[in-house]
Amino acid sequence: MATRYFGVAMKRREDPRFITGRGTYVDDLTLPGLVYAAMVRSPHAHARIKAIHKEKALQHPGVIAVFTGKDMVESGVKSLPCGWLLPGMKLPPHYPMAVDKVRHVGEIVAVVIAQDRYTAEDAAELVEVEYEPLPAVADGAKALQPGAPAVHDEAPDNVCFRWSIGDREKTDEAFRRAHRTVKVELVNQRLIPNAIEPRAAMAQYNPATDEYTLWVTSQNPHVHRLLMAAFVLGIPEHKLRVISPDVGGGFGSKIFLYPEETIVTWAAKQVGRPVKWTARRRESFVSDAHGRDHITEAELAVDEKGKILGMRVKTIANLGAYLSTFAPAIPTYLYGTLLSGQYEIPTIYCEVTGVFTHTTPVDAYRGAGRPEATYVVERLMDLMARELGEDPAEFRRKNFIPPDKFPYQTPVALQYDSGNYEGALNKALEAINYKELRRRQEELRKQGRYIGIGFSCYIEACGIAPSQVVGSLGAQAGLWESALVRVHPTGKVTVYTGSHTHGQGHETAFAQIVADELGIPIEDVEIVHGDTGSVPFGMGTYGSRSAPVGGSAIVLSLQKIKEKARKIAAHLLEAAEEDVVFEDGKFYVKGVPDRFKTFQEVALQAYLAHNYPPGLEPGLEASSFYDPKNFTFPFGTHICVVEVDPETGKVKILRYVAVDDAGRIINPLIAEGQVHGGIAQGIGQALLEGAIYDENAQLLSASLLDYALPRADDLPAFEIDHTVTPCPHNPLGVKGIGETGTIAATAATVNAVMDALAPFGIRHIDMPLTPEKIWRAIQAARAA
């Protein structure tokens, strides 16, 4: 069939409604009798709750109710569950509101329900909480020291888990016979997600039917429903409908089941009125799950020829005060398994200690484990190249897994199915005009100007799968995806996808797939998502899984539709089924294309069923559940070019070239947008962002005044290109592009700055690379 939509850079169909302010976000919704919730949050990082006095708040005009953690627990509410379990892991309870102790700044101690939001917020200040402050610890390494205050009685040493991957003895042996080794301590600092739409939830309870409806900013409404209904509130799953309408960005932070939506759902029944809560930005800072926060010691060993012999990595992963929904998976199976990067590394050993601290819980944030792994690998590659006096590009090239070695089994569990790393590197080198750039760098150095060139040759594993494998690794759910394709009598099509779009453009990209497969105009296709009341159980969107897993599920359903339609067409054409071909939306007998039945005619007959194949059911719809055979492995090379001003320490990004291989691209415009956003976030971590806690575990970077998100003038015009190595195991050959930018950009940018600072002998500075830090490093180097 001639491709008409796949691969076309169509404008997004959803954008007109967003850019004209007609999107429908949770906070836009209202209901008759709606009341509002405001959360009373702990100012202390660690304190015993001695008493909570509700009286003054309750006397405030307009206040309907005040509830505490004790009220919830006494009514039977259970702990929020953790969706990924590791052997021997400590799993302390996490109630939606603190019961006896608070364990991080911003933890909820009470909720005030009032007739309007202003009243609720005012009355929240009238709830008097008596605290007995206790010592607190925010830093992952300090939490492991003897005598550190314990976050939970269940884990007196603050260790949640100790996890390792790879062969320790073999790796130690590789280091013993190494020609050269490098070692570096890296801090992958804590980040705060900052989706443009704050989290929000609105819940309604209908006493006549005993049914609940929850509208929530969720990347995976079915997962929200399952966790909340079955594990926390004890609502029969079929009595809870979860709707996640338009959502303004997630980046992982809207995957998890949070206290707030649980509280409003429970409270809606208690007060007999629908209840809404929308986060204020300053609540988002302390309550949205944070990302990253690793302290790592990493080593690389090479032989005489500069070929890698082994890698050794020790990481302390700060998990925060409680285990967020997928927290244990991020610094383990999404991190340790990626440490082979694009390279042939005979042996790797990685151990990770997951640590509780008195801080906001940490979970998946765009890239989730993979940016942390890429940062470790790519920093090591640069440091070793410098140690050996080799060109960083050539040192990488020499150690790439060659194209003829796929499928390639890494020493850290993953089996890469495909790759052509040199292809992407060459394309990127050419785009940046590498040789000339190095010459220019030399020239400028003589003039006292410091240009740096940084590489990041990254690998990503997305579309986490298959279910059987993730189950054996501790996932408490399968990671397949669903799609229901419903063809209406007029041949119009509604697709119900288990994926969820919150910026990814599914309404366009998925419709492109459907329109092509059925040979119908894209206007005839509607993509529906985000409602457990209409969509079959789905796993949602995270880990760049929508195209490879969600898209594949749609293709499976379309195949079923076409098979059935062919049967109907054969009957109408009075031909044998195997002689009927389907092309450009028309069924005809092989060799007789002029005598045809359109897809729309066949669809109509499926519903009229007047003239119909005997024994065939009427109707035309199909649902599928697609379980991938493997992860998909996008890869690429990013090159960042910076100039550092040695007098001020300021970094200016001169050029940024990204060559990504995400397999076949459904919509290049959307893909480019994803890469742009990802790079911006990655550069944000490298140069600007960082969550700062003080010694009492108070969050100091708790507003956009103190937490520096990248702005347009911090970023260059990105130069974006692709290579195409189709995924060999899914029907679309797609791999996922949502996280590539974030995974690659951080290391590329830091490597570029370190390259610029090489003449000063500066080897490493921890992120964010602020002017002050760089200036101090230059001063120290000059003094030495």
């Binding site: 100012p43 990082a45 009238l126 605290y131 402050p133 300053r282 800072f285 009492n696 100091l700 708790a702």
Partner: protein, 146 residues
Amino acid sequence: MQLKGSYRFKAVIDRVWGALMNPQVIARLLPGVERLEPVGDNVYEAEMRLGIGPISGRYKARITLSEIDPPNHYRIRIQAQGPQGTVDASGTIDLTADDGETVMHYEGEAKVSGLLMSMGARLLEPTAQMLVNQGLKNLEAQLASL
């Protein structure tokens, strides 16, 4: 957060000490005190209005004087709690007579939590120093008018 400094009063030590032990003077010395009542020996309860930029609110405070060594030294502890956070500050005041005047050395430390800290951290120390300076100037003026 730490504060440290000294101030020279143009008054004899006994007058300065007397003022520093007078609850009404303390009420005017501390920032934003709207009410101050003794609730025990050298223990006071106060309502204070504190604010840094947008983060302002009414705080309930308990003020305790200890290590009282007239006319040279005492320790003051202020534990304040309000909707935007808590403050637990403790510091010493030392007076030395010098040529008919009095030199005061003060030194203190405060633990601040909640929004007050997370939104105001960068402004906290300069604001606190400003409030202390203001308080001391007030005291100087009061001493002159007494």
